[in-house]
Assembly symmetry: C2
Homo-oligomer: 241 residues x 2
């Protein structure tokens, strides 16, 4: 079973005349999610319902629903009777999110070490080995997809569906920042080495060790992200606000 969780959902080239199978609110939610994580919609900016409705050529109703969904994901903030704003994530907040993700992933890999099936273990190794090519060619997008599959498979190996869903949801909220740090030179190779070390600990059945390495793995990514922000956005943000 090799299902790709991150399939691109870009079948929007159909005529606008046909009502698509999915709900309008879902389409809008996805579009807004992309724009926010890509930085097109800048943090702190207000999202006007009418304006968005006009942009997507729909009424305010599905736009409202999409915005409500986004607020639950933490991407936007709703101030009642005031409006909807793209959540402004402070660097501290982002680091808090990374730390939380690190701890959650650590506990997942610890449980996974004790519960993983031989088939799952084989699949993990297979994924990891396949990532070697991506690391060498520097294909960030491909490695990003692999990385996701790798981690999700570990959640899966906990054999706790609720925990898996929670971990996936957490990971989704950090994806934008993860991609950012992954683009730094050398990060992919380091990431891959850390994966190998985690797999080694799992192979020895040492859940605590695997957990420690996973925590370090995530915190390294956080540090890389932090360094990236310090290097790239300091000059720009000097006069904002």
């Amino acid at each position: 079973m090799r299902h790709k969780t991150g399939d691109m959902n870009s079948m929007d080239e159909m005529d606008s005349a046909v009502t698509e199978r999915g709900l309008l609110s879902e389409r809008i939610r996805k579009a807004l999610t992309d724009e926010i994580t890509a930085g097109v919609l800048q943090p702190g900016s207000a999202l006007d319902e009418q304006q968005l409705a006009l942009r997507f050529s729909v009424s305010r109703t599905p736009v409202r629903e999409a915005l409500r969904q986004l607020s639950n994901g933490g991407l936007v903030e709703i101030r009642p009777r005031r409006g909807v704003f793209v959540t402004r994530l402070s660097p501290e907040r982002i680091m808090e999110m990374f730390e939380t993700a690190a701890e959650v992933e650590a506990l997942c890999v610890r449980l996974a070490t004790y519960r993983v099936t031989p088939m799952e273990r084989a699949k993990l190794v297979e994924l990891h080995e396949a990532s070697g090519l991506m690391a060498e060619s520097g294909d960030v997008d491909a490695y990003d997809r692999f990385n996701r599959d790798f981690h999700v498979l570990i959640y899966q190996a906990t054999h706790n569906g609720f925990m898996r869903e929670h971990a996936v949801s957490l990971r989704n909220r950090l994806d934008a920042f993860r991609r950012t740090q992954l683009r730094q030179s050398g990060r992919i190779l380091i990431s891959r080495i850390e994966h190998a070390e985690i797999l080694a600990a799992m192979a020895e059945g040492d859940g605590e060790q695997a957990a420690r390495r996973m925590r370090a793995h995530l915190l390294n990514a956080a540090t890389a992200f932090s360094r990236f922000v310090a290097d790239h956005s300091a000059p720009e943000s000097a006069l904002s606000d």
Copy 2:
């Protein structure tokens, strides 16, 4: 200096009769949350928007928004174009949730052990000592409130706001089941003893030990809940259906 302007925005009435204070969708969301967790709305039952709108004397719009919010909390399931249904939680699913909560709380108390401030530690002890009266008098509701404050304060002591929010959200989803198990004879006293042991580990600065005890604390609650379910619903569900 206080002017006597015509500003009467400051009337804070708490009654639920004709108050226009909050948003309708919020009020409905709370009402439905209560009814679902209390079991008034049984798992698997369909929620008709028009019917609910009639019941609350509002239009379908705020009802829809409330239902969307609930679906993100996992209380209801939305099948597009099919309707909204109260989520049917299998015993396995509930145990998965308890395990996840146990692990998350364990990691919280581990971090809290290393980061708690003297003031927070004092507040924890104070809370714990105050709970003695509730345990003796068997006031389940009061103990339930204390229990919540106690655990939330531990999340707070991690000094990671994001983690605190996540842990609180997780706890909310389990509150209904927690109350159930707490009503079993002796559970309150046992719970209080376990709290004391957790505090002791924190006082010694042994985060790992505190984490283990917290995990056991939550899993004990899960076991108690499981036993409660087995005792109370087995005879009925044995040959019905």
